[in-house]
């Protein structure tokens, strides 16, 4: 199935949410800016009900806040928010790794290794390749998340990841972290090879806490 077909089958609410989310990520709307239903309805040429539903969904994802007498406003992403998100992410991705040890095959482990090598190769390139870099990193993490076979968990982690999209621009100076991240990924692969659930959980948590430490030091300069 092509990407377009997948998008076509998405409910209207989700397609509107996707559009608004990507606009927020791109900075089309500023923090605290109002997302006015009638205006959006006119702009997108659709009725207000699916827009209201989309705003509700974005509220659940943490992108907007519904404020009494003001409606939906773009929620600012503070250092505390990111701290909060990472605490949950570290815990839940650790859990995903634990559950994945029950399902992961030797073939999957080879594939993880291949992804990690591509990830590293990209990071060595001189070009500005944030998108590809993030894609391989995403593929690596996503692989064991899916292998957890816990649908609820997969869904929650997907929702969390959408929030991290807003941090993309800060991640541009990737190469300094990439070498470390690659080594940490290697340790994760080793942990999966032992099929030890405690070790897999611990290693993934440690890796995410490290990336958070790195990101936090970058963010401190901005916030």
């Amino acid at each position: 199935m092509s990407r377009d077909e997948i998008l076509e089958s998405k409910p209207l609410r989700e397609r509107i949410a996707d559009r608004l989310r990507s606009d927020i990520v791109k900075g089309v709307y500023e923090d605290g800016e109002r997302l006015v239903e009638p205006k959006l309805a006119e702009m997108l040429g659709i009725s207000r009900t699916p827009i209201r539903e989309a705003l509700r969904q974005l509220e659940n994802e943490g992108f907007v806040e519904i404020v009494p007498r003001k409606g939906a406003v773009v929620k600012e992403l503070t250092l505390k928010d990111i701290d909060d998100l990472y605490a949950i992410k570290a815990n839940l991705e650790g859990l995903a790794a634990r559950q994945a040890t029950e399902h992961i095959t030797d073939k999957d482990i080879v594939k993880l290794d291949q992804i990690n090598k591509k990830f590293y190769k990209i990071s060595l390139s001189k070009r500005d390749i944030v998108e590809e870099y993030l894609k391989f990193n995403f593929d690596f993490h996503n692989m064991f998340i899916i292998l957890s076979k816990n649908e609820k968990l997969i869904e929650i982690l997907e929702g969390l990841d959408k929030n991290f999209q807003r941090l993309k621009t800060i991640l541009v100076s990737k190469s300094e972290r990439a070498a470390e991240a690659k080594k940490e990924h290697d340790k994760i692969i080793k942990a999966f090879a032992t099929k030890d659930p405690d070790l897999a959980e611990k290693t993934v948590r440690w890796h995410i806490e490290n990336s958070w430490e790195y990101l936090r030091s970058k963010l401190r300069k901005r916030y």
């Binding site: 009900t49 909060d84 605490a87 949950i88 859990l95």
Partner: protein, 221 residues
């Protein structure tokens, strides 16, 4: 311009609450179809807020919406209970860990008082009172974790989870264990021992999970 979304929020939310209660009580059964006209007639409300309420329930996992068929109440299987419980084990123990930094002495007193009340009602076999007291107990700890997203996730999980929790309070054996485990948790929180609070909460929820599994194994809740 008037913001209609604010005005209509409580109504769709209230309708969702009513339908959710019907599902939890079993008045509306898994597999049953919920059509907008039927609900509109049943509740005496127009269809737009009902449609929104159904979307909310869909997000919470209570129903599934199919094109041209309307909404169908989902069945909670063993696998669902497993998935929800393991998330609860991780997230609520994280909340307990974080709460040790924020809980005031007054909150600890409230927790003790609630646990005494649970003990008082344990013999009365009043399941709904016990369920409420128990959620109040857990909510105090969750609300003090200081991580608003974590609170939101747990709220959503607990709503789905209510379908399963009822079982813990239908047999005296588990109630006495619940009270004991609560006391151990209070003890750890009072000492502000983050590690211990996290571990005890994880164990408490895991024990509840084992109990429910032994009761409902193979069945659909």
């Amino acid at each position: 311009m008037r913001d209609l979304n604010i005005d209509s929020t409580p109504l769709s939310e209230r309708i969702a609450g009513t339908i959710r209660d019907y599902i939890l009580k079993g008045s509306i059964k898994p597999g049953e179809r919920l059509t907008e006209p039927r609900l509109s007639k049943m509740l005496g409300i127009s269809r737009t807020p009902i449609r929104e309420a159904l979307r909310l329930l869909e997000m919470e996992g209570f129903i599934e919406i199919f094109p041209r068929r309307g909404a169908v109440v989902t069945a909670v299987t063993d696998k669902d209970v497993d998935e929800i419980f393991i998330l609860k084990v991780k997230l609520e123990s994280l909340a307990a860990r974080l709460a040790t930094e924020n809980l005031k002495d007054k909150d600890i007193d409230d927790l003790k008082e609630l646990n005494r009340k649970i003990e008082k009602f344990a013999d009365a076999k009043n399941v709904s009172v016990l369920i409420n007291l128990n959620s109040e107990f857990h909510n105090i700890i969750i609300s003090k974790c200081g991580n608003s997203r974590l609170v939101k996730f747990l709220e959503a999980l607990l709503r789905q989870f209510k379908r399963a929790t009822a079982y813990s309070f239908t047999e005296a054996g588990r109630i006495m264990r619940v009270i004991e485990e609560h006391n151990e948790i209070i003890n750890a929180l009072e000492k502000r021992d983050a590690e211990m609070a996290e571990n005890l909460m994880a164990k408490h929820i895991q024990n509840g999970w084992q109990f429910i599994k032994s009761r409902v194994s193979g069945e659909v809740i």
